[in-house]
Amino acid sequence: MNRRSFLTAAAAAGFAAAAFNPDVLYAASAGIGDWTLGVADVEADIAPQALRLVHGRAPAGLAGKLYRNGPAKFHRPGGSVSHWFDGDGLMRRYAIDDGQVSLSARFVDTAKRRADTAADAVVTAGFGTAGSKRASIGGADDVNAANISVMMAGGELWALWEAGSPIVMDPDTLETRGPKTLRPDLKGMPFLAHPRVDPDGTVWNLGVAGRKAVVWRLGADGALQAADVIDLPRASYLHDFTATARHLVLVLQPWIHDRLVAPIVDGYSWRPEAGTQILVIDKADLSRRRVFETDAFFFFHMGDAWEETDGTIRFDICTSPDPKFAVKGARAMVEGRRPVLTASPDLRLISLHPDGRTRIERAGLAAEFPKADPRFAGLARTKTASLGYGPGDNPFHQSVAVRDWKRDRVDSFDFGPRHLLEEMVFVPRPGGSAEFDGWLVGTGINLDAKATELHVFDARRVAAGPVCSWRADVALPISLHGIFAGA
């Protein structure tokens, strides 16, 4: 393999040629909002601490572990990250049992974190950070920040990035065991942060490199069942995909990787004139595919998809007019500046009809982090939980909403501008089986208390406010995604 092809493969796998990265000026400017607590550095792992119940009563039957992952170390004396998505992944574990909550958190011990710690500077390249020529980078897992999301695979906890391997952690101690190689010939292949899990536990995921993708299929025990490489019509930025019981659905937005530059985010071009392509692939035969066309939009996150009896595929998605947040907004945030966006993302329901038509229905709801009842993944359902925004300077979220697509109504609760909310996940009520019969469990920062809180909602009565809230002694920066592992 020559140097050029190595570089091409490396860039396609999610990182690009190194160049010197000027340091980021952070928070030295006066008058920045205290929302920057959401992007503040955590200097050390958090030893287990009990949370204090500050509101309501813990619901009977709610037990298990909420794992949440997200960037939590951004700034170093010799140079800092240039993008929110490039901070070191901090895995948080909220253990809920008998009305008590214990919080612990540990950084994922990645090669990137070790190299940056040794250099006392962020020398490792990332999604939006160019990195330094001092960095020794031989493969994707040398730049893997393991900072986006988390999944359980058998008895292992996996910290997920999107351009490298899952990083294995101990689900109890959060000790890092290292990158997961699912088969020796697949070492270092990318594994997206948003696997789709069938109700029987089968895990589908993708790994993307330019116009190629690997389709991963894992059993409920986390063991590899298949890994097949497919061609894509274009080299779109693909953070998430979705699936029905029978099909994978890949939304190929017109933000296309076409330049080998550092950092990787600068190698994408926004081409709205090219529209959005939606690739539907048969899970049983990956060569059977269909492409739908629709207007240009940008997105990060989708809900689970389903199919109607006539073959119509539906899924929810949070879309933006353009990739301004990914390119500029997330850079501004780590400099303590509020992102200036064309518009907040909004929740839509997309229908792909058998005759080739595509229909987009707007919920009229500014929203991100769409989540559904995981028991209905791939199956017909009516509800989507999401987070909403406030009118102030806070670039994070302050409200929780459940959209009912069938009844055309929204059930929501607004915490107000002094809260920075994190994604809500659905936890079923033991013994229940109806959609959203259970709780929405999520975290956030209470700016007045300068502390992280854990909130529980009745998923069918969100407007009533939290059923209960616990508070930690520490404010952890805003994380990206989580899962709930039952007791």
Partner: protein
């Protein structure tokens, strides 16, 4: 030390005038034998005690980037360390790149996206910087007589 450097430069000049493509294939006469150099290469940090380490020795940047080595060696692996002697080199500047053929199939395996799945390294433990190690980081001087290189394989 100034003196040996001058001596090495003089040797290089004299060898350059004698050089042919098949130079290293020629039997050495006694005068040339005195000028020949050996490099003992030690490999440490081997994770899998199987297969072999494949060694390429290069005398130009172009060859190092993708051409033919002046010597190629195969070193059996049976434990966490291994070594070999690259013998009969002309004194000069060289770089070495190696990969650990863990499964013994005789090639450097890559994943479906072209990224190496078997360990690789270079002389001076030259780092990979978003690509294979660079000549400038890996090149080292080989003087007449005995020389040594230690390469760590992660």
């Amino acid at each position: 030390m100034t003196f040996p450097r001058i001596k090495t430069a003089a040797l290089l000049l004299s060898i350059a005038t004698l050089q042919t493509a098949a130079f290293t294939m020629l039997p050495l006469n006694s005068a040339q034998a005195q000028e020949a150099a050996n490099v003992t290469v030690t490999f440490t940090g081997i994770q899998s005690p199987t297969g072999a380490i494949m060694v390429g020795v290069y005398d130009t940047e172009a060859a190092f980037a993708g051409g033919q080595p002046v010597q190629g060696l195969r070193v059996e692996v049976a434990g966490p360390e291994a070594s070999t002697v690259v013998a009969g080199l002309k004194p000069g500047r060289y770089a070495i790149k190696i990969y650990h053929d863990v499964n013994g199939d005789g090639r450097m395996n890559t994943n479906p996206f072209g990224m190496p799945t078997e360990p690789y390294a270079a002389s001076n433990n030259a780092p990979a910087r978003m690509g294979p190690p660079a000549w400038a980081d890996a090149v080292f001087d080989v003087a007449a007589g005995e020389n040594a290189q230690s390469i760590t394989i992660d």
